[in-house]
Amino acid sequence: MSKQPARARKVDARDFLGLDAKLSPEERLIRDTVRSFVADRVLPEVAEWFEAGTFPKEMAKEMGALGLLGMHLEGYGCAGTNAVSYGLACTELEAGDSSARSFVSVQGSLVMFPILTYGSDAQKQEWLPAMARGDAIGCFGLTEPDSGSDPASMRTAAKRDGDDWVLNGSKMWITNGGIADVAVVWAQTDDGIRGFIVPTTTKGFTAHDIHKKLSMRASITSELVFDDVRLPADAVLPGVRGLRGPLSCLTEARFGILFGVVGAARACYEAALDYAVTRDQFGGPIGRFQLTQRKLVDMLIGVNHGALLALHLGRMKDEGTLEPAQVSFGKLDNVRMALGVAREARSILGANGITLEYPVIRHMNNLESVYTLEGTNEIHTLVLGQAITGLNAFT
């Protein structure tokens, strides 16, 4: 049969700008696969995980079997997809919950990425295949109780003792800390900041989970404590010195976030849209009110702006032209957008908007964390300010 022209489509409330057509068949298939996985495995249970404050560790293996862990990395059992596919997977995961995206970001971008980029061959062989399968879970130790936006002020330090290193200090707000098999820990040394691969079974290593969170509740967040943790000489990542190491990891993770939060925002928008056309007040659906339509349209525009921005930056990353300041642009604006959309959606859902029966308050609370983590909104503002003026406002 001859090829027929694509069916004329009416405007789709869920893909208003027709971005689907800008994706390759593989990108769409990866996106659809993650969407099915999230619908089957995350959405039915995530409200319970959030309420109970847990993340089921067995998800790691399921995500590994799918190929989500380190999916955009090459070799060592990783799928080797392009950056846009990784971004689209993040969008779908975060449409489920920021914790699912966060798990994948930490594993792939913050732990596997530095091991692949800066690690020795032995380090790669030891950790990457197991992490890609989800048999080993990683965490990333940079932030400290007194060292957040200013990581150069970190106190955790590793000192030489013969050939060994001895690590002391602590790290705070560490995603997956309490369930991790391995930590990539950044520490001061006589040779500047270096990265260390620390198996969590090493004597002197302890992790304490942080409770009483009201955000990212379906994610494990921990404090890591190093009390004379003795590491062999080959625990250090040989390929990088200085803050460039951890900052390059954060740029990778921010890339996942700028795609991911589009998913959280989309989930809130869709929940609000469904609610607005089915919730009757004053004799008809509230979606007929001008005030509600204004909110829905603002959300629609925000979500689609965010998706366009993410896709554009993703294409640049695949071309190899993406600059860290452009990633800051995406992280800053898309998280700000997503948080605004979540709050607006909550107002459309009224009282129902505050329950875990609907996804909105969960996303809204999660996004408060995402607003701050991997570079606060304020820090990214200053990164952009410096990029366009050449003037440094940090010091």
């Binding site: 049969m1 090829k3 022209p5 068949p25 593989e26 298939l29 696969t33 190929g67 799928a79």
Partner: protein, 254 residues
């Protein structure tokens, strides 16, 4: 073991179907998706191939305008080895018998030990193509399998019946149809999706297969489904259940 799986690319069922006003055929967009019921057939085929060992192969066989091949790639990404697509303008709107002859010819050309199909397509719903393929191939058909296994060189299935199930078996070459829910179809893995790009997809025409589309049935007219009638509301004043039982008896459902 050479396993052929019948799969079909269909318009996305999430979007309303459009019919061509002259031919009454479904308008097929460039992007078609894998019929969801076919995922079960693909999964059964992959499981049979995995149990059979390394020299087993799974070949997808499909007749449709190839379009973007999105649906075929999805099945390849699940793990099938190759695909054979029959794409020929003369087959537009092909009826069930023509479809069966064409697909049987494509399967026969490839060679097979086992043919796996779903029970019916989600766009056409004739439900007779697999059995007709078996007839054209001269192979026994084991239909409505809710469980499939290879035992002692035979394919044994549990055949879903209204009362329960029958256990039936046949030695290859054999065709079987698989009910939705018989197995849990795997997700395509990302490695599978990346590898699917490299897997061979052969496109054949009627001439390649030596078949022609003659004596096709013609759809003379199409009528919309009648609008649903409003239901009856039973006011319960203590005896509502009797009225409901009476209604269910009238409807012959109890």
């Amino acid at each position: 073991m050479r396993i052929a799986v019948c799969v079909k690319q269909i318009p996305d069922p999430a979007a309303p179907y459009e019919l061509d006003p002259e031919t009454h055929f479904v308008v097929r967009p460039e992007d078609q998706v894998l019929d969801d019921t076919d995922r079960y057939g693909v999964e059964v085929a992959l499981q049979l191939a995995e149990a059979a060992g390394d020299d087993a192969s799974v070949t997808l066989v499909s007749m449709s305008p190839s379009g973007s091949l999105q649906g075929i790639r999805q099945a390849l990404a699940m793990g099938a080895d190759k695909a054979v697509i029959v794409d020929d303008a003369s087959l537009r709107g092909a009826d069930a018998l023509t479809t069966s002859r064409v697909i049987a010819a494509a399967i026969g050309r490839e060679g097979y030990d086992v043919v796996v199909a779903g029970t019916e397509s989600t766009d056409g719903y004739t439900g007779v193509v697999p059995q007709q393929i078996a007839e054209v191939l001269g192979a026994p058909s084991l239909t409505f399998a809710r469980k499939v296994e290879a035992v002692d060189g035979k394919i044994r299935i549990e055949r879903q019946t209204q009362a329960g199930y029958d256990v039936v078996e046949a030695a290859p070459p054999v065709l079987l149809t698989v009910t939705s829910g018989a197995v849990e179809p795997r997700y395509p893995t990302f490695k599978g999706i990346m590898q699917a790009k490299q897997k061979p997809i052969d496109t054949l025409t009627c001439t390649d297969l030596g078949v022609t589309a003659d004596n096709q049935q013609v759809i003379t007219s199409v009528d919309p489904v009648p609008a649903r009638q409003a239901g009856e509301i039973v006011e319960d004043e203590g005896e509502g259940h009797l009225r409901i039982v009476a209604m269910l008896e009238e409807a012959k459902v109890i």
